[in-house]
Assembly symmetry: C2
Homo-oligomer: 416 residues x 2
């Protein structure tokens, strides 16, 4: 009989120490995040990708390579199976014959943080966690609070006062233990660290628990499965904490081991950052293995405003090992791309996702991406969560009884 | 060889006149909306529901019973295949053993209007439409503007000044021809009517084009397929214009004709309204076939603030013919349900969707729904589009350096 999960243990990618996955673990003693390992050899001999075909299209279809051992511990709102859609009009504009969007805005809570929350909260429940805490710039806290509500886990969420109001409301309506701080996410992090140390609360901070990577990696499985078990040539990912790109790279290696994809060239993974916060890009340009704290970081794409990521060395490893690159785009470029994607293709994406399109355009212009290559831009959230990135001007205000003509410019009303 | 679509013609449900589906049609000459008819006998002999199993999980998997004749006219952002999830904790609270949510918030544009937009815009493109216009309270206009952008159709969208800002921004970023009116949706309707009459623009107002029902009906196909081709006992639907409930009823009748579901009892369809706008409920109580204009209507669930629906007679027919009912809930009840669904089950739903949960609870208390019945509440949109329905109060504001203890109530900060 096959196993529901083939999880075997946790492993430190730095010092290679092993840890028991049946117990609560946070960071390695050496300070590195831990990675989940599976008995992939056994899994390969017992399951095939064909077994997946009749399963529901949520991320739990990959349960053999997810960490939850007992099915009843799964906490799911039906997350995953997000659209992978060709963008022919925008591709023509960019000079790309095969441009795709992987649209993670089409998911519960409207952001890809949901994948990490579903797997992270499920595993926390399996491990007996009753209370967890995390600092957040917004979307992750919202997702974890909602999944914790379903799991009956108390969630203490600390976010800066200037985090988006919508994410604050999500935590609140979920009944989460919400705290606002008149400071940065690093100040929120200190509040959480104190709570973890003093009270033994489970630390759900990015990469301080090993399981959200497992949720995020399912984006990699999905992209490949949706392309008929073929890998694209390039995947562009908006990189803040970098959990997604680490996860996608991990998924590619696992699929190779499982024999689900053919040995050969992996997709070139591109870490996209904003010019106002580009520590990974700086490190990549110098060929460094780790990044340096990026001072005074700023960008409207708040999800990628991470001056120094705990998993920076894993992000850089993914980029180097796949022949990828790291690239920064300006605020103007990313906001222009957001508008262009919506007006060409109808996808209202978030500014972080928009950064990947701006980067794809630049890399095509530079010749780093070729016309015939299959390119996937990863949009990490719904534009509707980012009300403030769209400025409206010049819209006509009509009074009852006013009319429009065919050119729609002759209304009698004023301008807003 | 099988056909991509088995569409045969359009039919008036009132006077039964037929119309050519290959030409642009709006209302019947008698003033009624038109319904799309298919050669279901032929379809039954040529296709089976088993053929669906390997198709993508978007709404176009049902293309044989959708109106688009040529596949290349489809305008898709990957809409449909929304989660149908059991809600065991909330079910226990309500005394329902099999309570489900069909969560239409997990869809491009964050609202079920997307289904109508995808099918409506695709068919408009197939019919050669280059410009359309519609009045909207927000979500429909947003969805149509985004799909029209993808289809290269100019979309003139007229919405009241007090429609939600987010939907205005969606139209704007899509490059739609956006107009705001200092009045009600009925005033917006007059602007559109003038444009349609004077300029020959395609009228995309609710039920004035026959195809958005076809998009909405796919919710019915999906619910039944997701339950393993079994029908639930009760489906509760938040009813404004009523296109969804009309569509779900149409889908049930089509599936019967196709032999995809067994003859027997249909699900009892429940039209849920807000007490502040309950014309269908008033009509149903009196056993009337049509509703009367509901004066001075008001509700925070703006999507169901429709004082007199053009398709009211079709909504009432669906309710009567399935042994369903119509029920109104108060503002307090629907907002309390919104909070309860999020804090019990993690789904942040819209106030319209919340009304169906308040109704399910009431109908269970009254004994109209029995404990063992399979009940589906239809949530029509993402809560994140309704920022203003969640009021936050009593949240602590910390200063950098403050700490929390395990009871999380002793922070040193003030209250917001």
């Amino acid at each position: 009989m096959t196993q529901f999960s083939y999880i075997s243990h946790l492993e430190c990618p730095k010092c290679h120490k092993h840890y028991d996955a049946g117990q609560i673990q946070q960071l390695c003693k050496c300070g590195s995040p831990l990675l989940v390992r599976y008995d992939l050899e056994k899994a390969k001999s017992e399951i095939s990708k064909a077994a997946l075909s009749n399963r529901p299209k949520n991320l739990w279809r990959y349960h053999e390579v997810l960490p939850v051992v007992q099915k009843e511990h799964i906490v799911s709102l039906g997350e995953g199976g997000t659209p992978l859609q060709p963008l022919p009009k925008l591709g023509a504009e960019y000079g790309l014959n095969h441009l795709y969007i992987k649209d993670e805005g089409i998911i519960p809570t409207g952001s890809f943080k949901t994948r990490g929350a579903s797997v992270g909260v499920s595993k926390a429940k399996e491990l007996g966690v009753v209370r967890l805490a995390m600092p957040t710039n917004g979307n992750a806290g919202a997702a974890w609070a909602l999944y914790c509500a379903k799991a009956d886990i108390q969630a203490t969420i600390v976010m800066p006062l200037d985090a988006p109001l919508i994410t604050r409301k999500e935590v609140y309506i979920a009944g989460g233990d919400l705290h606002l701080i008149n400071g940065l996410i690093s100040d929120a992090g200190k509040v959480v660290a104190h709570l973890v140390q003093q009270e033994g609360v489970y630390d759900a901070s990015t990469l301080k628990e090993p399981y959200r990577i497992e949720g995020k990696k399912t984006m990699g499985y999905e992209i490949v499965e949706q392309l008929g078990w073929k890998v694209p040539d390039v995947i562009l990912y908006p990189t803040g904490g970098g959990v997604g790109i680490i996860g996608i790279y991990k998924a590619l290696l696992e699929m190779l081991e499982l024999g689900w994809i053919e040995k050969g060239k992996l997709p070139r993974l591109v870490a996209v950052q904003a010019e106002g916060c580009a520590p990974i890009v700086e490190a990549w340009k110098k060929g460094e293995k780790e990044s340096v704290f990026f001072e005074n970081s700023t960008t409207s794409a708040f999800g990628i405003n991470v001056p120094k990521a705990l998993g920076d060395f894993l992000v850089l490893e993914a980029v180097y090992n796949t022949g990828g690159c790291a690239i920064a785009v300006s605020e103007e470029e990313l906001l222009e791309s957001q508008k262009q994607v919506a007006s060409f293709e109808g996808n209202f994406i978030c500014p972080e996702g928009a950064a990947t399109f701006a980067a794809a355009r630049k890399l095509r212009e530079e010749g780093w991406i070729r016309e015939e290559e299959l390119v996937v831009c990863l949009n990490t959230g719904a534009g509707i969560k980012y009300l403030e990135t769209v400025d409206i001007h010049g819209v006509q205000i009509l009074q009852p009884g006013d009319t429009l003509n065919a050119k729609s410019s002759s209304g009698n009303g004023g301008r807003e």
